[in-house]
Symmetry: D2
Subunit: 147 residues, 4 copies
């Protein structure tokens, strides 16, 4: 069973642009906050260690699914799961939706993070505890079918 890390987002009036909907760049801020909370929880629960300190955003892909209006909802949530775990990287699936399991999906992102050792200027492999922790959030595209 997949565990998802769900992070609440509180809209601000000025998140909207002159088109009267939340500006496209705000979804990057929302998902950034979700990643930071998630990684903070990893550090807290794994006791830190290799590959758990500095993380760099390498790429992101965002599909905009629906407009978001401050007047309709003051909250969103980001549902985070792990799509692929590399030796020092991780590919996350970050779905932004209206609150609740039935909440409309408004944006669907894939973000790739690299664990980085700033002191030595190179990528830093995840430690065993971090790998174990992250894998709990693995997304199963196909859950398995009965024989």
């Amino acid at each position: 069973m997949t565990t998802a890390y769900i992070h609440p987002i509180h809209l601000r009036w000025s998140d909207e642009d002159r088109n009267g909907h939340v500006n496209n760049s705000k979804f990057m801020t929302y998902t950034e906050d979700a990643r930071i909370a998630w990684l903070g929880r990893m550090r807290a629960e794994t006791g830190g260690g290799p590959g758990s300190e500095g993380v760099i955003l390498a790429s992101l892909h965002c599909e905009y699914k629906a407009q978001v209006h401050f007047a309709q909802s003051k909250e969103l949530e980001v549902v985070n799961t792990l799509r692929r775990l590399g030796s020092s990287s991780v590919e996350l699936h970050q779905v932004v939706r209206l609150p609740g399991d039935d909440g409309e999906v408004v944006a669907d992102l894939i973000t790739v993070l690299v664990s980085f050792d700033y002191a030595n200027g190179r990528s830093a492999p995840w430690g065993d505890r971090q790998r174990e922790w992250l894998q709990k959030f693995t997304e199963h595209a196909v859950e398995s079918s009965p024989a």
Copy 2:
């Protein structure tokens, strides 16, 4: 020969986040400004018309290539070319770099826009003049053909 639409970006001190480099979400703002200037020029040079008014950002993909520091450069530029022209959509290639043809590439984006008719709530095919105008910016992956 490809014509690129080059749009200058002026950094702001607060574009940087607490990590001391330009925040990942700002590249969406930079490329948004480039698209708006480009589309404004299209409207001005084609006299408006079908498919030239409302445009929706459908998706974006961004590869972060290098950190940007306000203390090193106050300007960037976005080099825009057309990757694919659909009946009512367009796929743009937006390269963010330090100024000049030899400027280091700091982010590489693909953005998909859809021309939209808000009054009727559906996508709006580009007019002939718009298609002709946009095609001038077509990106040629292979610039020369063998003899």
Copy 3:
């Protein structure tokens, strides 16, 4: 007795600038959200009417009292009271503090709003219900004097 309108603020990681504290401009965003929520409640509770629709920010004064760090608190609150009620304007006192009655004050703002009639391009006097509603939030510098 003074009633204050208290509005919660949820910090975002990127509210901090490269100095590692919340950027000075964010306090304007926090207090804007508080004003919008407050005025929205006025409209809901008074049934709208004269002087309750369009409001313009005429001026603000902000005293920065303490740095705010995302790592220390994810929430702030804005305590709003009414300092002066004019015929078509209002002077608000907006105190930004850490949550709770004993929360440290981090910024202290005076903001002046003018009720505006956009259709006619001029200021719009508050209606009686709006005046009555706003006065409930009047700030009493001297709460009572000894007998």
Copy 4:
């Protein structure tokens, strides 16, 4: 004669909020950039020294004079003069206007900065060279005196 430090501002499309004009908080970003450029020039021209490194924004007062629309002007400028020079503080007058000496004033700010010694956690008096440099920008409320 007063020397003013004039700093150009390049608007961004998303500076506007859903009301279709530049959001009130952006004037803080514009004037911040002007201060940073001004102080950077002070450091460069005075060779650094006491009171020239860390500066804290203590307060600001902003009078909003006119709406700013991206569609009307892509540029503003901030005209900076010195209103009062304290031993370790400075009160600046920052006028935001459309470009040029005849440009309409859109916002008028007074900002108070304190030179700060972060290492020792206290305010840091300006050095002689910094005082001399800053005084060149002194604003003379009364330009001429009666005979």
